[in-house]
Structure formats: structure tokens, C-alpha cells
Amino acid sequence: MKVPGHFGVRDDDLETLVVPNDLRHAKSAEDQILEQIGSCCYEPDEVFAIKLALEEALTNAVKHGNRNDPGKQISIRFYIDDNRVIIMVRDQGPGFVPEQVPDPTAEENLERPNGRGLMLMHAYMTSVQYNEAGNEVWMLKEKR
């Protein structure tokens, strides 16, 4: 899937990272992206939001998409300028249907120790969009 049209950049403008399927390598990619964001003029709460959404997407990819399989990989594409941050995370799993994920803020789900990642991505980013298969998520954060 190419970058969604309404994200406002060309597909060629994105950088690409491919990392082995484990949280340490995912974290290393996250640090690389955050370092670039740090050189732009985003407010601390915006950086918190981007970091949170990125961590949730990466965690979902490693644990749920690729089911902790060390033989799989995660692909990350990103674009950063002073007005917007775009991040794509893709795993090699079969995908899922986002609409079928239970609402973690519903009373009956509050005690669940997991299942909040997708909700947090939506809450903290300007736009979140999955591909049809459900193994690739595109996120946009526009600067205020």
C-alpha cells in the first residue's frame, strides 16, 4: 500500500527501515525516528504522542502480527518535516480486522492488561489507516 493521498506527501519521499521481529530491534528503529523528530520543532506532548503511537504499532507488529516469530521482519516507513510526521508499520502476519477489536475503555474491558494499542494510536494521532489485509498501519501526526 502506498502512502494515503490525504497524508500530503509522495511515496518516494518516505524513508524505509526493515528490522528483525523483536522488541529490541523495534526500539532501535523507534529511537532513530525519534532522533529525527527531535531535530524538528514539535512540542513535548506531540513527541510523546508520536512515540506512544509508534510503540503501540511496533508492539502489535512484533507480538500479534508476527506472533513473536524471530524469523519474521517488520517494515517501517516514515516521513518527517516541520509540519507532519508520517509512519507506516507493516508485519508479515495474516492481519486483523480493526473494527473487531474490543473497546478497551468499555467497563467490562477495563481489567484487561492488554488491548489498548489500537485505541491509543487513534487517540494520539491525527489519522490512522490500515490496509485491507490489516497487517499494515499508516499514521499521520500534524503539527498544531
Binding site: 522488541l23 529490541r24 523495534a26 526500539k27 523507534e30 529511537d31 525519534l34 532522533e35 527531535g38 513535548p44 506532548d45 513527541v47 510523546f48 512515540k51 506512544l52 510503540e55 503501540e56 511496533l58 508492539t59 478497551p104 475503555t105 477495563l110 481489567e111 484487561r112 492488561p113 492488554n114 489498548r116 494499542g117 485505541m119 491509543l120 487517540a123
Partner: protein, 120 residues
């Protein structure tokens, strides 16, 4: 913000154990946090306050550890409270409705006092 370090310090205040977190409790630090609570639970500590004043980042992985600790303590007749969260973490506790599950206090002193009031 891109620091991965989580520093955990544990101390006693009155009858409560205070677990102070500094740094980041994200995807690579949740294991360390879980190990700390496993150790605390093994020693039978009943009332635990998590001091969030030094915590700069918290993800759903870290939140999951706090929820499991809350459940484990409750099952043993104990209690978990959160205290002194900075604005971004405090907002996260609201968005996720964690504050409807685990008591959240302005500071550690209030949390410890509330434990005392609760057992009176």
C-alpha cells in the same frame, strides 16, 4: 524522550511500599517493571504506591504491568495506588480510564494517607 532507561527505587512510607519510577516504561522496559512487582508480591507487601513523578513515558505495555499488579495485590487483600503523574502520563491514565480502575492521587503523601483512611 528517546531514552529507554527505567530507574526503579523502592522505599517504605508508613505501612506502604512506594515504588518510584523514573524514565520510560515502554515496550522494552515493561519486563523490568514486571520483575519488580513480582518480587514485591513475593515478599507479601500489601499496600503499594507507584510514584509516577519521574516517569516521562508510559505505553500500554507499562500500563499492563500496573493493571496486573493491581489485580494481584487485590487478590491478596492488598491495594495499589498511582501518584504524582506528570501531565502526559496523567492524560494517558484518563484516556484509558485506568483512573476508574486504580486510585490516582496528586502526590505520594495523599496516596499513603488514603491507605490509612481505607483501613480505619
Amino acid at each position: 524522550m528517546n531514552s529507554s532507561a527505567l530507574i526503579i527505587e523502592t522505599r517504605s512510607e508508613q505501612d506502604a511500599t512506594v515504588v518510584a519510577l523514573r524514565g520510560s516504561a515502554g515496550m522494552t522496559e515493561a519486563e523490568i517493571l514486571q520483575a519488580t512487582f513480582d518480587e514485591l508480591l513475593a515478599t507479601g507487601r500489601g499496600s503499594v504506591v507507584v510514584d509516577l513523578s519521574g516517569l516521562e513515558f508510559l505505553s500500554s505495555n507499562g500500563l499492563g504491568v500496573l493493571i496486573r499488579a493491581h489485580q494481584a495485590l487485590r487478590d491478596r487483600g492488598g491495594r495499589l495506588s498511582l501518584a504524582a503523574a506528570r501531565q502526559p502520563v496523567d492524560r494517558l491514565l484518563s484516556i484509558t480510564r485506568i483512573r476508574d480502575l486504580i486510585p490516582v492521587h496528586k502526590n505520594v503523601s495523599d496516596a499513603v494517607t488514603a491507605f490509612g483512611a481505607g483501613s480505619a
